[in-house]
Each structure stands twice: as structure tokens, then as C-alpha cells.
Subunit: 268 residues, 3 copies
């Protein structure tokens, strides 16, 4: 049975203005047999890190031949390249600004190409919207089997995103909040596996803004409503949450806030 | 001709973060022949009533074999069950927290199952995102014909949502605002049919916050711009609106506000 | 190979409430072989101009047999007609309130019909939601090949939107801001071609709110971060932007703000 090719979209275009739909129209005009999934169009304008993080925690759930188009492109019109990266877990199309670098670190055997062959672009290219005029049609042609080697030269280097890594010190891990979700959960850059370098997950405590969360929870309702908890979240990062409430409101914390993981004290 | 199976999604995940797309990726990885319709991802965080109301007024417009997945799940990780309810008007998958109970009251002959068979779950289950790890893959397997009887035990009881029913008193109906839409219309829990217990729809008046709306309108522009009107809305509930304006702004009303329906006074 | 018929949706329904999904459910119940693209549901409530502009700059990117449904309908329930307009670039379904008039000005050979044949409506029609009860089912029947001549009488006249045209005066063009996008770019009603009546695009200056932008840029990063620039944007309108910043914030400008294009002064 025919399987449509899946193309995901991750952009900072917002829901107003119809910009995501222009990409879809361009793609469907080239290949009507694709199926779109919007990852999000609500990335903060020009926030490459947020786009990168959002795609990082989502791409693994898609079929392996999915094409992921990501357009957060503050350098549009300048000399920044456009990339196509093929990995065993998907094909990635977007600007060369580091957006895909955390994924490419995960995925061995990536083949990365510059997309410069004007055959895969629209005939008329605007100055400000290469997502629509270059990346979308390139993705459409790729979805129809356009050979990646003909997109442009193969690259051995590309822009790397400065990903904030947690710091392991004697007896504790120093990390920070890298994302805040709609529920007010604070997502840190410390993974569940990282915490094991201190102790079993159930034996570590979390400190943030002078508050101490005595141990990691298994689910939200383990603590009374309104109370803070720490938990290994759905993307394997340690998150700080508040049961039936919002940690960001309770703590008045921001992205960048320091978070410390240390051994839990023995309960009295 | 091949008909893709429709799966609708109703969540409180928001548009940021890509959570709805993770559900879609999981489902497409199991069954690429589905077609998604987002009912909404803008339910207020953990507001089971809003999710229930939104699905209630929309599910009837979908083909009868549609699978409706709804994930507003404040009890995630605790002991709350996950349900699959089959009715003549669709299949419903989501947490057992009352979300589907108003629909199940409408639909005779519902067969309700607990989803507990780990065969329909992802191999790895996070603590905080059962929408992605349990409900989405279960819905995908159901869309491929997985027998409902094998999902888990059939249930005869499930959580009921406390639905605010209007109160019928001598000469009037006492109801309340249960939802406010984007246009600022105040949707009440009183249906067009309810009002007939007072008089013909055209012969009833509506009181709210000390204001009286002398009779029900047939369309918005029946009253001058900016003026309040009451109307039987698109889901058969009495709504309070303001022509080319916003009733919520005019009245400064909130969800929960009391609304009285009574016989219209004879015009002088 | 089977090609699903594309239906786009442009509405002021918002993301909450599930109104767009009701249209989709109605359409899929009549024709399951359609493919939806949401242009936007974030039009400001009842803002026919914004809907018209958004559709105008997007419809050209879609396949020629796309059906564009647009529902911004402050006159719902009154005597306003519902239209179906067939042009060489698509079929348009929506209220007769001017929404499609800028497109119909562009497209020669449009055939415009009133949709009044109740065969293409839902059996039950609400007072407030003709998008769901009339326009969606009509579009679904059209997508299945329902003859346009049977929708209702052919029209030779329809409502025209008052589109603000730029004024050409001796040595300058007077226009205004007609839209502000998510990035804070101010989109004017002056096209790149219009500016050629003053001088080559690279030789014109732009004035707004007492500020002068000495010449048109080719890309955002041509000026230092935070600085204003003017550019021919992705829809061929002159836009005022701020590199890696927001022109609307820098200028505190609103829709309607006057914009002057004049010959650039010779650099000293």
C-alpha cells in the first residue's frame, strides 16, 4: 500500500500570517504525496537553540525516512549555507546555523550536503523567505527521490550550536534550566543518566533558587498539590515541576537558572 | 478506494514544545495510514472540563469510525486508568478522569475497556507522558484493527465529570456560563431545547450580571453593533454575544457567571 | 496515483474551541479523500481585511485545483451571500464580504456563483456557524465534483474590499503599513514594482514616523543588529524591518502608519 512521505516542520513563523502554509503549498505543488506534521511554529523569533532542542526531543518518534524541515533563520539572505543531513533516523533540511548539530552529534554516519543546486529551488527567490523559496522546494524534491549528491557539495564541517553541558564536580552536578514548557515545568540540561553519577535516581536531591527538593519523584501526584518536585521527564532530562501547579510560577525562574543535583540527605 | 483512518487529538499541550507532534510520530511509526485532525491543543493546562466540553461539541461532526484521542491528564503516573470507549459515533482513547463521561451519557451501547495490555504501549514508558507512551500507540494499534477486548478488562464503571446542569424553577431556568470562545461569546449550560420549557425560543429573555436581554436573536446583526444579544449557538447552547463586539468585554463576565432564562416581558 | 484534493482553511476561529476541526469533520464525512492545509485560524476576530491579505499572499503557492475556504464572517445569519469563485488559480468558498475581491482583481476569467442550493448544506443549519453548516459541506461537495453551475445563480457582481492603494505624487509614493508580522516587520501596501516609478529599487529611501531609512537592503544582516532597514519582502511588498530585532518595537508603529518612498539622497 502506498505510504505518503512524512515531512515535519519546525519554524518560528507563528500561527498568524500563513507562512507555514506557504511552505506546504510549495511542497504540495512539487509532490502532492507528502504528509505534513507540524512540530511547532511557535519557536521564539530567531531562537535557534529552542528550535534545536524541540526538534532534538521529537525527531526520534518519527519513522526513519521522515524529512524534517526546520526554518529558524536569522541569517536569511546572508552567506549562511542551507544543509541537507541524512542520518539513519531521518533527513534534515534547514539553515547551517547549528540547529541540527545536537542531532548530528547523536547520529553516527550522517552525510551532510550543502543545498546549492538551483534546480531544487523556486524559479524566483525572495530576499527574506528562503524557507519557502529554497528549503521547502528542496525538501519536496528530496521526498520525490532527488539524489542527495546532486544537491550540492558534501560537507565535512558545519556550524555547531553551543549546547550548555552540565558540569560534574565533587559530589554534585551543576546544570541549568534550558527550556520551560506550557505547564510551567523547568527542563534542565541534566539527564536521568547524568544523575546516576551522583547516586541512584531515587537518592538525589535538587537545588534551585535556594529551594531544595529532597528527592526525585516518580509521578506528579506523589507530592501535595502546589508543591515542587523533581522528576526525570519525558525526554530523559531532569525537570522541576509543581503538582497541579506551575513550577515557573512557584519559583519565578527563568531559562538559564542554575540547578544543582546532589546526594539526598538521609531523612530524619 | 483506500480511506485513511481519522484520528483526532484534543490536548492541553499547547503549540510550543512539539508535544502533539510526538504523539503523531508515534502513531505514524505504527500505522502510516492515518489522517490526523487536531481538535485543539489549547485546552487550559489540566482543565478536564474544558477538554470534555470541546470534544462533546465536535465529535458528532466526524465520520463514525473516527478515533478520538484526548489527553488532559493531571493524574499521569498515578493509578488512574486509561480507557478505550467504543460507541456508535466513534472510539475514544484517553485517561479515566471524566473527560469522556458527557459523551458516554449521550451514546447508548458504549463498550468501555481499560487499556492495560502492554503490547499496545511503547517499549519504554516515561513517568510524565503517557499520552505519547501509552495512549498514542494504543490508538495506533486500534486503528490497525487490534481487538478492543484484548486491550484490557471491560469496565462497567468509570469516572464521571461533574457537569453543571441547569436548574428549572417556577417560571425560570437558572444556568451558568460554562465556556467563553475566542469571539468573547459566553456559552451557557442551557440548551435551546431547555428554553422551550419556559416558552417558545423567541419569547424568552436572558438575565446576566444585572443586565436583561429582552429576547433571543436569530443572528448577530439583528441588534446594533456593540449591543448584547442572546442566541441559540452553533452547539445548541444558549450563548450571550455582542454584535461585532465581545460579550465578555461588555459584561466583564467569567466562566461560572449565573444566567437566568425567563419569559420575555411584553414589549410596551 | 491517487491525488487527494487540497482544501485550505483561513478563519478567525482561533486554536481554542475546536471550530476549525468541526469544519474538517464535516468535510471528511462527505469526502474522506481531501487533504487540509491550515493557512491560519488566527485572523483577528471579524477582520476581513487581514483574512483577505493573508490569503492573497499565500494562495499562489498552492496547486491550481486547490479549494480555498475562508470564513471570516461578521454578517453570518444576515442576508449576505455565500460565494464560490472559480479562477485559473483555485476555487474560493466563503462569505460575500470582500474577502476574495483582491484575488478576483488579480485573476481574469473568474466564474463566481452564489451558493444557495441547500443540497450542498448540512440538513440542520445553525444561526451562527455557516462556516460549518454551509461553506464546509459546499466545499466538500465541490471537491467531489459537484457542478458549480448547480450551486446557485452565477453572479456578475460581489462585494469589494476597500484596498488601500498607494498614492503616487511628484517625486514620492505615499503608502501605509497594512500588516505587521510575527517578527515585527511592517508590511506596506507599496510593492517592489511601485518603487521603480521613483527609481531603481536600490536608489530609493523610506520615511516612517520621522525616521529615514536611507536605502533598500538586500538582506536583513546588511545593517547592524537592531538597526532599521527597508526591503522588498517575500510577497513583493516593501517591508520595514530591524535586523535581529523588531521594527514594530523600534518604531512603535501601528497598522495604518504612513510610509513615504522617495529618491535616496546621494551619500556624502
Amino acid at each position: 500500500m502506498f505510504r505518503p512521505r512524512i515531512i515535519t516542520l519546525t519554524t518560528d513563523f507563528g500561527q498568524e500570517g500563513g507562512f507555514p502554509s506557504a511552505l506546504k503549498g510549495v511542497i504540495l505543488s512539487i509532490n502532492p504525496h507528502v504528509y505534513f506534521v507540524d512540530i511547532t511554529h511557535s519557536i521564539q523569533p530567531q531562537d535557534v537553540f529552542e528550535a534545536s532542542f524541540t526538534l532534538l526531543v521529537n525527531y526520534g518518534y518519527f519513522p526513519k525516512n521522515t524529512i524534517h524541515v526546520a526554518v529558524v533563520d536569522p541569517g536569511v539572505g546572508s552567506e549562511r549555507k542551507i544543509l541537507c543531513a541524512k542520518t539513519p533516523r531521518g533527513i534534515f533540511v534547514g539553515p547551517d546555523n547549528g540547529l541540527f548539530s545536537p542531532i548530528l552529534e547523536n547520529e553516527a554516519n550522517a552525510a551532510v550536503y550543502e543545498i546549492s543546486n538551483s534546480k531544487v529551488f523556486l524559479p524566483q527567490i525572495s530576499r527574506t523567505f528562503h524557507g519557502r523559496d529554497k528549503m521547502a522546494p528542496a525538501a519536496a524534491h528530496i521526498s520525490k527521490g532527488f539524489p542527495l549528491e546532486k544537491l550540492g557539495p558534501r560537507l565535512v564541517d558545519w556550524k555547531k550550536l553551543l549546547w550548555p553541558k552540565p558540569i560534574f564536580e565533587a559530589g554534585h552536578i551543576k546544570g541549568k534550566v534550558i527550556s520551560i514548557d506550557r505547564f510551567g515545568n523547568l527542563i534542565t540540561n541534566i539527564t536521568g543518566d547524568d544523575t546516576k553519577r551522583i547516586d541512584k535516581v531515587s537518592q538525589v536531591a535538587v537545588r534551585i533558587k535556594g529551594r531544595s527538593i529532597p528527592r526525585m519523584a516518580h509521578f506528579f501526584s506523589e507530592v501535595p498539590p502546589g508543591e515542587l518536585l523533581a522528576i526525570v521527564g519525558s525526554s530523559n532530562f531532569v525537570e522541576i515541576a509543581a503538582n497541579r501547579s506551575s513550577a515557573v510560577r512557584v519559583l519565578n525562574a527563568k531559562v538559564g537558572e542554575e540547578v544543582i543535583i546532589q546526594k539526598a540527605e538521609i531523612s530524619k
